[in-house]
Amino acid sequence: MDLLLLSRIQFALTIAFHYIYPPLSIGLGVILVIMEALYLVTKKPLYLTMAKFWAKIFGLTFAIGVATGVIMEFEFGTNWAAYSRYVGDVFGSALASEGIFAFFLESGFLALLLFGWDKISRPMHFFATLMVCLGAHFSAIWIVVANSWMQTPSGYHIVGEGMKARAEIVDFWAMVFNPSSMERLTHVLMGCWQAGAFLVLSISAYYLLKKQHLDFAQSSMKIALGLALAASIGQLMSGHRGALVVHQYQPAKLAAFEGHFPTGQPADMYLFGWVNEKEEKVQFGVRIPGMLSFLVHGDPQKAVTGLQAFAKEDRPPVNIVFQTYHAMIAIGLFLIFLSSAGCLLLWRNTLFESPWILRLFVWSVLGPQIANLFGWMSAEVGRQPWIVYGLLRTSEGLSRNVTAHMVLTSLILFSIIYSLLFMLFIYLLNKKIKTGPGGHGSISEEGRHRA
């Protein structure tokens, strides 16, 4: 097989698998901070039980997130050496800053969060949890800055020519606050909060359906529901703002989102459809005429740049971008519906007696995960054929000294190891859920198990 394709598959696989975990840690981090704060204020032991239980789930997701994240730090160099040489000056700055400002903060205070319950006072423990949560958010900031620079590069100049050309920083803050970084950061963080909130909702709803740990599950659900609703509504708004940035700086990507080929014409929005890339049109779709024009210009008659404005070799693959983008939006809308319905039923005091919505909540944990994956796919595939938009093609970023055979070998190993790891993760998560929180009895029960 072809080196470029294999390298892309390997990067996609390793980053997609890694990205199951950090959003859970970021979202659960926020929930842990809320629970510990509630405990400090109210002194109700239930909040401490809650914090301790969710901290265990947090520990599991965090460990796998770190283990799979270490690999990412090296993968730019192993498979994308030419890219690394080209962007090291700029992209490397964001990555190194992530190490200095985020990873040390997280890992240092994580030890206190997981093992410090009896070593430090409760307020100190709250502080440690807050720092871990902050560290996880810093990590998101720097990595989104790095990725956004690849989407909308700024604050740099190109030095050298041909094979020796590379990007160098001229304005650090322009690099950090490049045109898309803040909009994309909000979008990513809201997605992370949704991932954490819906995990808590899912497990709590499961307990309620099983009539187990009722106080615990109801309290957890109330906290998570608030976060889920806020993040889901915020996600729609941040997504809209993000699309405006894409319209301005990456018009080919926006056109691919909606399968909009003809240029100089108003653009429609599809609810769903299938892009026929050969005939350059969307088939079997239901569309709202002029809606994309309306969303970006406030006027359904105004023209939006179409894919035909770009040479064929400068266009991203359209159908996969279209499908992942639309699936992401559909899931996002469903999550708004689900969290609003949950809040409404909670307000009418019938949430915990409505099995139909609890069943939906049990499955809802998959929603943010799939939407996050699809969102990143539409963002990254939509950037193609560029690895750094408009500057460097993905095919030019490859390690030229690595053979397809080597990449195939590592890719097969990754596939096997990550499949096993995922099964183990689900097994252990399931076990933790089955063991449950409960009072002191079941905590020391767990203690004996571990002993």
Partner: protein, 343 residues
Amino acid sequence: MNGGPIDLNFIWFIIMGLLLSSYAVLDGFDLGVGALHLLTKTDQERRLFINSIGPVWDGNEVWLVTSAGAMFVAFPEVYATLASGFYPIVFFLLFSLLFRAIAIEFRGKEPMAWWRRMWDISFSLSSILTAFFLGIMVGNVAKGIPLNNEGEFTASLNQLFHPYAVLVGITTVALFTMHGVIYLAMKTEGALHAKIRRWSRQAIRVYILCYALMTISTLVYLPHMADKMRAHPLYFIVPLFNLLAIANIPRQMNRGKDFQAFLSSCASMFALIFLFGLGLYPNIVLSIPYPEHSLTIYNAASSEKTLGIMLIIAIIGMPFVLAYTISVYWIFRGKVRIHETSY
């Protein structure tokens, strides 16, 4: 750019050395604990081993991740050349680190004997292999690499597992094992402590043997690594200091001063990495047989502006990093005990 002996490029070369030394000194002992893990037989003792590094191993590994990030930004040519050129070794290393993290996390989650044995073996083997592959990389860099004029090379496994590199790999395992055994002596008590002190004597002997072999091979086969010392005999203080530090380890262990022995072991690691850096300077990746293609601290570096910005970031960030690292070690100081939240 080439402005005198102390410029940003030189400072970043030193910072890289400090980052890698900190990594070796910190993750070195927890890798060493892993290497010794299978030598103890009972579940209770194995739990004590894992929990002795429980709160700190993850933070220790961050030094490696940050070293990679710092190399990426300060010397992108080196990062790209080594990561892609050492492709198979880098992935062996990464898979070892992955298995190790999972083994530590998963071992205590089930009580079955086969489950624990499986993760015990993964933990120990992956710790040994991590140390070994790190040594293989250091050995290859010390030996020199046939870079082409694009600053690239493709090495076969045969080339990467050159005898000298294998010797450095084994020496790294021996060094981390010695470092780990001293750390365990600090963290254990009673009969286990007595047993570990007995191991420490053997571990020190094995390391001294490996170290002697490695030093002789370096002087015989890689004379370029000692060029600077021949030119400036003052540098002989460093290997002398190193020898004294190593000799001090058994002395302090015999006096029952495990912590002083640990500090000596740290000092000897810093000295060793200093010698490695001294041998390379001003190259980072020496190209042999085409020395004109070597990656130096100048031709492999990022722009002066970026090196300056990142120096400011490091100066802002590092005091915080040191503060949390020291706090965590302080809070979890003393002999290790098993609690309900332990692994």
